[in-house]
Amino acid sequence: MPEEARDRLGGTAEENRDRLGGTAEENRDRLGGTAEETRIVKRRIHEYPDDSWTIERAVDDGAYKGAKKAITTMQPDEVIDLVKASGLRGRGGAGFPTGVKWSFAPKDVFPKFIVVNHDEGEPGTFKDRELGENDPHQLIEGITIAAWAVQASRAFIYCRGEFALGSRRLDRAISDAYERGFLGEGVFGSDFELEIILHRGAGAYICGEESALLDSLEGFRGQPRLRPPFPAVKGLYGQPTIVNNTETLGNLPDIILKGADWFRQWGTEKSPGTKVLSVSGHVNRPANYEVPMGTSLADVLELAGGMREGHTLKAIIPGGASAPLLTSTDIAMDFESLKEAGSMLGSGAVVFMDETTCMVRNALVTTEFFEHESCGKCTPCREGTWWGVKVLERIEEGDGRREDMDLLLDICDGIDGRAFCPLGDAAAWALRSNVKLFREEFEEHVSLGRCPFEDEAKVLVGAHQGGGSGDAGVMPQPAAGAPSDANTQP
């Protein structure tokens, strides 16, 4: 790699190694290097932690073979059928079947657009960040395959504004790909033309909602659009637009090369493949772990090194701040199982909380986040989150009233199912599960007239005030003194 490029990417291989905090071997361990991980989208990152993001390494490792195969040997419809057969579902949160979404785009309307939702803002989620920073070529290859499948000649990567390193690497990767003829006119010598435009957001969680993302991309206030029409029919600039998540696209090269059956060897019938889980909270080794869909939450906890020493598990957020809480690890991590359990897989952010966590504070932090990030478009989300925060603040500060718990549940009922977009619903789900599962703790706050938890437990409170769109609110605090190699449970 030329020197200047290396500078632009933020350092030499050695420096980057330092940034990751150790040698390749050590990093492998630190990034969850146990045998239980099953890596599709994280494979290259895992195998080449020093330079997985460079085009030299990526191409050497086989990048763009899938895209080349699709464009030079397959019809667009064949690609769509293959992806449908693989059962790949969206990894951004909703889990909609990717091939089916593609097939909604009208065949005879041009231009069509691919938009990558790389605006990872769900509190607790940091998988797309790693994928974008460390394997941008996998994303570009995935975009190329999707663009070929729906015959889009232009793609936009909507990159979260805070991803400074990630956006630099994506920018570099895109120009490298152009240089090698993987993008631009005549991709792989075919007639197919593809242009990729990298766009950085400005720090709004709502812009991760696909239609708000499109408004923001067009230069308007980021606010969700009325549906129908759905983006696949009328999206960016009124044209058919497929919005896919970074991790979803990352699965495509291997699916093209190795087939649907290969992909289906992992996961469940309805949720095939793997999922990158961003594990954080009071665990010993917070990191991204790629595991087969349906892996038990207990195994995930074990991968992450278990709870910090001397503490016990109290609650789990299984799929980002929007997901209702769980209290047990006895559950399979796939779309259906979590839905049955009254929660959701969401973006795959798993936050483990131990007994030092005040659930009123947890509810407050989460609701504050949603209040701060509400776009203000619809009444229930705008006013409901505002009200929820006010009530939770009172309870936490010792001014709670006995009827407040029912009031909070009423507020949740007033938002859930009535908000314009899922942001409001999510705020209600999260708050409701806190009150329902830990009602005694709320009542204790009221009857004591103060928070019964130690101040140290406030580690989760107020962290979001550092700015940005707030995944820091429940980001892991590295456990001091935790053994780095221990796999023990408290």
Partner: protein
């Protein structure tokens, strides 16, 4: 699906057939089921943000917003289902947690959709105990609009109006989440010609009218429907009176005319009606040359002799007279007095409206305003409609925006329509006719193939005093050649009615060619100045201010003629009057205005006229009676009986059709209120009797009226009478005519001379609008628009002063460099400090320019 393509929909157990795709909220409302709402407005696209209209739809997992849910076959809807009612209550509780309960001092209190719907659907009390959101109070975002952000429920109606309808985004959402607020950008003023509409559609008191702020409680108002007296669009309005003063006007919706809107001139320009200098009693000039109040008998007696001079009498009528007044003026002039010298064209002097007879049986439009929306192409030749016919501008914009209509603009200078026109032809001064011919033969526009069916050609006199015969003649040829419809746009509310009734030198009532053509306005004034006339009768006419040659008008009045003037306000011309007869203003009388599409719309009185003022047609009848010609027409019904008999084109219209039935208020839809309060009378009683609460009456008339949210007033609009049918002429009417002469281009121009274009701006020194202080405050300062190369040639630049000189006078004006044809300049007609009619001479006025 039924056989007629409609679908069966069941709402609350009632089944109806509806067009598929129509919005549930509309279909329900037509069935009499009111679904509460804040953000939904039938004139704008749905956004479904307030979530107030959530209803239960069978088979849908969640409640659906009725404003964004199209009806589909066999849809079953429940609007009063337990869940839906719970959602409505919940949404109101959410909206109220941050809404200040300052209803007792809020202008909206009493006619507030939030208040109404809270009564009907809301929870009785709030569980919110924390402090409410506050903002800096009462931001004056313009001279007309005041904003109280803490009252706002963020329905976006104002923002959407600015974006979708007016096309000027002066007002926007800023910040996000619970901090979201409505604001103007960068503290710039809300500088829109249509800003008042946002006040009216605001479902709370967040946007209020500065002139009306704290003036009245709605239940103290006496209201009557009326028609705007300014331009020829004829927006339906309600006039609200408190303590004998006209204190507010609001738009009444009529989808055929104004949709839901009116301009700020129509909305705020009402102060002249209750102005202190209204003429209240007849006046005659005494020997000391002073005006002396006299009785009607004396004044009429003084006028009778001079008016009996037959053909030596000239009659000029102004554009704000009603159709009945026009009938009275024409009958008085042509029959009683016996003079053919009668005209109503002042600022539009030289506009050959009669040419329209070549394409139909009427000297008027063959197109309606709604035809603009079904047209594929619209051609516009005329003034800037945003300044002179503001709501027509909105309708043109709507045609372009919602219906993808192509718009071709032919103009010597940049006008507001250029912003969204498909093609703009920037013709030479006077070259409009050539451009139109080019449009016809395809030479002017490479894309003339876009001129497709249905085609509507709009024409209005583009510059005061210009001879438009060539231009309108070319328009008529285009209409004939393409089988197009014509939308003829005379300037004022009364202009078309005056033509129809024969206040015209060459046309008698019903467009019959006059047997003995008389003099037009210019001819009358010239003859008066030359001493060839003895008497001038001015009915609502102010030639010195309005006629595009002020000097000629002054000479005419100041000469030896006896001047009889019928007026509502003192004007410049009045200074030369010998007899002054006070007349009633539009809010004080019955009558009809005929708008530019020849739609007759009725006025209802809400006030008595001041003093002994009466309607101009009654004044004409009195003068006639004094001259021995007793018409015997005591009231509105009688004058229509006479019009039916005398005016063939209007023979089918009955006074009954024109009269608004006294409105029986519909169920109180905005709130769902039912009961005693909803059955109160809200308009003036039948027969033109004045309601209680008029001038001199008690200011408190709470028992008489019940205030209503504007939506309810909409029900009245549906009662309005229809158009006068017009019959298109049999195709062609023969070979193309070559008419008049309009010096086509710069070639004809003497070196150093510039073609002078002028036109009224929306707010100017007109006698009516200038009585509203707020509008006078935002009047533009005089300026001159010039082509950049012309400016450069004079070695001047944008913003510099230049002296504009004509035979009539000179004015030093600030230069605005603009997209205007070379060799042409534009000066506004009547701004403070500039009377363009002092510069205009003749039918092709030119001026010289020099450095100051």
């Amino acid at each position: 699906m039924t056989t007629n393509g409609r679908v069966k929909v069941t709402i609350n157990g009632q089944t109806v057939e509806a067009e598929p795709g129509r919005l549930l909220i509309d279909v329900a409302e037509e069935m009499g089921i009111f679904i509460p709402r804040f953000c939904y407005h039938p004139g704008m696209k749905s956004v479904a943000v307030c979530r107030m209209c959530l209803v239960a739809v069978e088979g849908m997992p969640k409640l659906a917003p009725a404003c964004a849910t199209p009806v589909a076959a066999d849809m079953e809807v429940n609007t009063v289902d337990e869940q839906a009612v719970d959602a409505q209550k919940g949404m109101l509780e959410f909206l109220l947690i941050n809404h200040p309960l300052d209803c007792p001092i809020c202008d909206r209190g009493g006619e507030c959709p939030l208040q109404d719907q809270t009564y009907a659907h809301g929870p009785g009390s709030s569980r919110y105990v924390e402090p409410k959101r506050t903002y800096e109070k009462a931001l004056e975002i313009s001279d007309l609009v005041v904003l109280d952000r803490e009252r706002c429920v963020l329905c976006w109606r104002c923002v959407r109006f600015s974006d979708e309808i007016a096309g000027d985004q002066f007002i926007q959402l800023v910040d996000r989440g619970p901090g979201t607020q409505i604001l103007t950008f960068n503290d710039e003023p809300f500088d829109s010609y249509f800003s008042g509409n946002t006040i009216q559609i605001c479902p709370v008191g967040a946007l209020t009218s500065k002139p009306y702020r704290f003036v009245s409680r709605p239940w103290d108002l006496v209201s009557a429907p009326s028609i705007c007296a300014y331009c020829s669009v004829g927006c339906p309005l309600t006039n609200d009176v408190r303590g004998g003063q006209l204190v507010r006007t609001q738009a009444l919706p009529n989808e055929n005319v104004n949709d839901f809107w009116t301009c700020d001139k129509g909305r705020f320009g009402y102060h002249y009606v209750s102005s202190e200098d209204r003429l209240t009693t007849p006046l005659i000039r005494n020997r000391k040359q002073e005006f002396e109040p006299v009785s009607w008998g004396e004044a009429v007696g003084a006028a009778t002799g001079p008016l009996s001079a037959g053909r030596r009498v000239g009659v000029i009528a102004g554009g704000h007279l009603t159709t009945e007044d026009a009938y009275g003026v024409a009958r008085l002039a042509k029959k009683t007095i016996g003079t053919p010298h009668v005209d109503s064209r002042l600022q539009d002097a030289g506009a050959p409206y009669e040419l329209a007879l070549e394409v139909s049986d009427a000297a008027g439009s063959t197109a309606t305003i709604t035809d603009l929306e079904s047209a594929r192409t619209i051609v516009w030749v005329g003034p800037d409609p945003k300044e002179t016919l503001p709501v027509l501008y909105l309708r043109l914009r709507q045609a372009w925006g919602d219906h993808d209509t192509k718009l071709i603009v032919i103009s010597a200078r940049r006008i507001s329509l250029d912003g969204f026109a498909t093609h703009v032809v920037r013709c030479d001064p006077g070259g409009e006719a050539l451009a139109l011919q080019g449009l016809m033969d395809g030479s002017e526009l490479p894309a003339a193939s876009d001129v497709g069916d249905p085609l509507v050609v709009c024409w209005g006199p583009s510059s005061p005093g210009r001879d438009e015969t060539g231009i309108f003649g070319a328009v008529i040829e285009l209409v004939k050649a393409k089988g197009a419809k014509l939308l003829m746009c005379p300037p004022h509310a009364g202009s078309q009615g005056l033509i129809d009734m024969g206040v015209h030198p060459t046309l008698d009532a019903g467009y019959k060619p006059a047997r003995a053509p008389g003099l037009d306005t210019r001819g009358i004034l010239q003859s008066a100045a030359d001493g060839e006339l003895d008497t001038l009768l001015l009915v609502g006419a102010d030639p010195i201010a309005d006629f595009p040659d002020s000097e000629l008008a002054t000479r005419a009045l100041a000469g030896g003629v006896f001047v009889v003037a019928v007026e509502i306000l003192p004007t410049e011309s009045l200074a030369y009057a010998d007899v002054v007869l006070p007349s009633a203003a539009y809010a004080e009388r019955e009558g009809t205005f005929t708008n530019l599409e020849r739609r007759l719309q009725k006025l209802q009185p809400v006030l008595p006229p001041p003093g002994s003022a009466i309607e101009p047609w009654k004044i004409c009848a009195r003068l006639a009676a004094a001259m021995g010609d007793n018409w015997g027409l005591p009231d509105f019904d009688d004058v229509w009986t006479a019009i039916n008999a005398d005016v063939p084109s209007h023979s089918g219209l009955q006074a009954d059709h024109l009269r608004n039935q006294p409105v029986t208020p519909a169920p109180y839809y905005e709130s769902g209120f039912e009961g005693e309060t909803s059955s109160r009378t809200i308009v003036a009683g039948p027969g033109g009797q004045y309601p209680h609460g008029h001038r001199g009456g008690s200011p408190f008339q709470t028992g008489q009226n019940w205030p209503l949210s504007w939506e309810l007033r909409a029900f009245e609009a549906k009662q309005r009478p229809g158009l006068i049918p017009s019959v298109p002429a049999r195709n062609g009417n023969g070979a193309p005519h070559v008419r008049g002469s309009s010096p086509p281009s710069t070639a004809a121009r003497a070196p150093g001379r510039f073609a002078l274009y002028s036109g009224r701006l929306i707010y100017d020194e007109g006698a009516m609008v200038s009585r509203t202080t707020a509008l006078r405050g935002i009047q533009k300062k005089p300026f001159v628009e010039m082509h950049p190369d012309d400016v450069k040639e004079l070695e001047l630049s944008d913003g510099d002063s230049v002296v504009v000189e004509s035979d009539g006078g000179a004015a030093e004006l600030r230069i605005i460099v603009s997209d205007i044809a070379r060799g042409a300049i534009f000066v506004p007609y009547d701004q403070e400090g500039l009377r363009a009619n002092r510069l205009i001479r003749g039918a092709s006025p030119t001026v010289a320019l020099r450095k100051p």
